[in-house]
């Protein structure tokens, strides 16, 4: 591993010299700490339980280069990635660098901050310092450590108490071909939603073109008392790209957090999604949908941590797999002894459309309280014959039934998204992706309205 990390040490030296100097001193310290830890940990191997099914050798072997500056992307191209026909606040980043010309935050309610991290330090240093890296600890996770070493830019959102931002805040992270083919983007987001505040956030990870890059993203969401936050993540990077995302939500009492992960792109995409429910009567809905084709591997590792009593948490992750694709779902639920009356439900269902696709699904429940309701279920199988027959008896042809049931399978997951514009955006992407991957132009648009 020494040989591999050596590349990142020299990358780090160049990074600290070039442009990234202007961060506060404590950020420099944080970075150094991140690099030290990364050097100690090295890249994970399949001998480690957490990485048993996901071999990151192609990432470890690739010498991904930090891309020093933003590349300009045509407005017309950017437009394709925005919410169609919906008013939204947008921050655009290309290869991890903020593009002010293609960002728009006019009309935000007073006091709400939606800014790129670098520009936010000046006025918001205290709140950033208080929260950044507090929940996304890098002591054990090499990719978070590497991301921390390269903390530079990303989004900073702060919604003050009792303010509701109804229109979606769209954080668009585009990767594109840089000077060299193998570029690395390090994205760091911090989202703080204060007491009684509300926000709807779309995180888009998209590619402009087909290229083999590495995106390493870390997002921390802090939902204070009584707040309501919906975060939808869309990942449709290039199919030769590598995508590593560590998402952390920290919930205070009576907060309501909904997270949805739509995973479509990448040769290897790994999503670690962890929610710490650190307050009584807080509710978390953590859902997702992955569609994997070709030789792709998409991995979700979720961690739902119940600390206090009376908290419901619901997880529904669904997957559609075809060709030689692979998917991993590992859902950990940890209920501490204090967390009585926890109501936790976890479901993972996979639709296999080829004989050669593989799913590894594993629930992990650790429960130390005695008065709880915790259920989990996992299913892997082909098209449901009884559903198909039912549709056919109503006159629907075999081919159409297949299409309706496939889109319906996905729609059960996407129906968990509450914000209508975000749901629509996801549904359209899902159908477009399914049409392409299943080579079926006849798939219906929408089967739920």
């Amino acid at each position: 591993m020494v040989e591999v990390t050596k590349h990142y040490v020299s990358e780090f030296q160049a990074f600290e010299k070039n442009g990234a100097r202007n961060a506060p001193a404590w950020v420099h310290d944080l970075r150094k700490d991140g690099l030290t830890i990364f050097n100690q940990l090295g890249f994970p191997t399949t001998k480690q339980e957490e990485w048993k099914y996901t071999n990151v050798t192609p990432i470890a072997k690739g010498t991904f280069k930090y891309s020093g500056s933003a590349v300009t992307i045509d407005d017309e191209v950017i437009k394709n990635f925005l919410l169609d026909g919906v008013e939204q606040f947008v921050l655009t980043f290309v290869n991890g660098h903020f593009v002010p010309e293609q960002s728009q935050t006019n009309g935000l309610p007073e006091g709400v901050i939606v800014q790129n991290l670098i520009n936010a330090y000046a006025a918001q240093e205290n709140i950033i310092q208080e929260n950044l890296s507090r929940y996304a600890t890098h002591q054990k996770n090499p990719f978070t450590a590497l991301n921390t070493a390269f903390i530079n830019d990303g989004a900073f959102i702060h919604v003050p108490a009792h303010i509701a931002v109804e229109k979606p805040i769209h954080l668009l992270f585009l990767s594109t071909k840089n000077v060299n083919d193998q570029s690395a983007s390090y994205i760091r987001n911090l989202i703080v939603v204060e007491e009684g505040a509300k926000a709807n956030i779309l995180l888009s990870y998209r590619s402009a073109g087909e290229h083999r890059n590495l995106t390493n993203s870390v997002t921390e969401v802090i939902a204070k008392k009584d707040s309501a936050v919906e975060v939808v993540k869309v990942q449709k990077e290039s199919e030769s790209a590598f995508h590593i995302d560590n998402f952390h939500a920290h919930q205070h009492e009576t907060s309501d957090v909904r997270v949805f992960s739509l995973a479509l792109g990448g040769a290897i995409a790994r999503n670690d999604m962890s929610v710490i429910i650190d307050g009584e009567a807080a509710e978390c809905n953590l859902n997702g949908l992955y569609i994997v084709a070709g030789e792709q591997l998409i991995d979700h590792h979720t961690f739902m941590h119940h600390i206090h009593p009376n908290c419901p948490s619901h997880e529904l992750f669904k997957g559609i797999l075809t060709d030689n694709a692979r998917a991993v779902f590992n859902g950990k639920v940890y209920v501490e002894s204090e967390a009585q009356k926890t109501d936790s439900k976890q479901t993972n269902r996979n639709l296999l459309l080829s004989d050669t696709a593989i799913v590894d699904t594993k629930p992990e429940l650790e429960i130390f309280a005695d008065d709880v309701k915790c259920t989990h279920g996992a299913a892997v199988g082909g098209m449901n014959e009884s559903h198909s027959f039912y549709l056919k008896t109503r006159g629907i042809t075999e081919e159409s039934a297949k299409g309706i049931l496939t889109v319906g399978f996905a729609a059960e997951a996407t129906s968990k998204i509450v914000h209508p514009a975000l749901r629509r955006h996801v549904d359209l992407l899902v159908v477009e992706h399914l049409r392409e991957k299943l080579h079926s132009a006849s798939l219906p648009d929408i089967v739920h309205a």
Partner: protein, 252 residues
Amino acid sequence: MIEIKNLHAKVAGREILKGINLTVKAGEVHAIMGPNGSGKSTLAQVLSGHPAYEVTDGQVIFEGQDLLDMEPEERAHAGVFLAFQYPVEIPGVSNSYFLKAGLNEIRKSRGLEELDSMQFLKLLKEKMKVVEMDSSFINRPVNEGFSGGEKKRNEILQMAVLEPKLAILDETDSGLDIDALKIVAQGVNKLKSPSNATIVVTHYQRLLNYIIPDFVHVLVNGKIVKSGGKELALELEANGYDFVKEELMQTT
């Protein structure tokens, strides 16, 4: 309308239907009664084309066509409808989308123009009155979280929308309380016309108080052993199926 001749069928290697003969004409209501395991539901499933059942002998002619030679969807296009005993739940697919897709495929197969969303919604709302269904069911996923009664009503709603020539109701009364039973039966009666026919498969006579059959057939051990008018159902109710079995023993 339909002529079933010497129909034999098996499932998982076991013969269930052992030579069914039945003719149903337009405008008629036929009830098929029988004890559990007699093959009533198998007959319904075989007529709708369920792939798990293998027809080993016999013939079914529907409106001049060889029904057994047709795919389930082709049977629906031709005008066969099965109201399921256990309607399946389909998460993610709305009731209205499902029904519109079915109706339009049937219309297409008959050379009729497909209905657009507005036209369909209007039709659907009209038909929902037939089964006294609340409009909130339109956008709910097919049968998901429906009570037993709601599922059965939803079956009759589908029948109302698709307007089949031959409707086969498989144990439509099972799991219904008396109010739901009346609504379902009224729905079926409203849809009755001189040009369509109904086969009611049921274990109990109860449903036949509300859907009055022209003929009653008793199915025992894969064969129709006795046929008669509506009074046969009452006889069965009073004496149970054993009396038919006893009669059989005496005659054989």
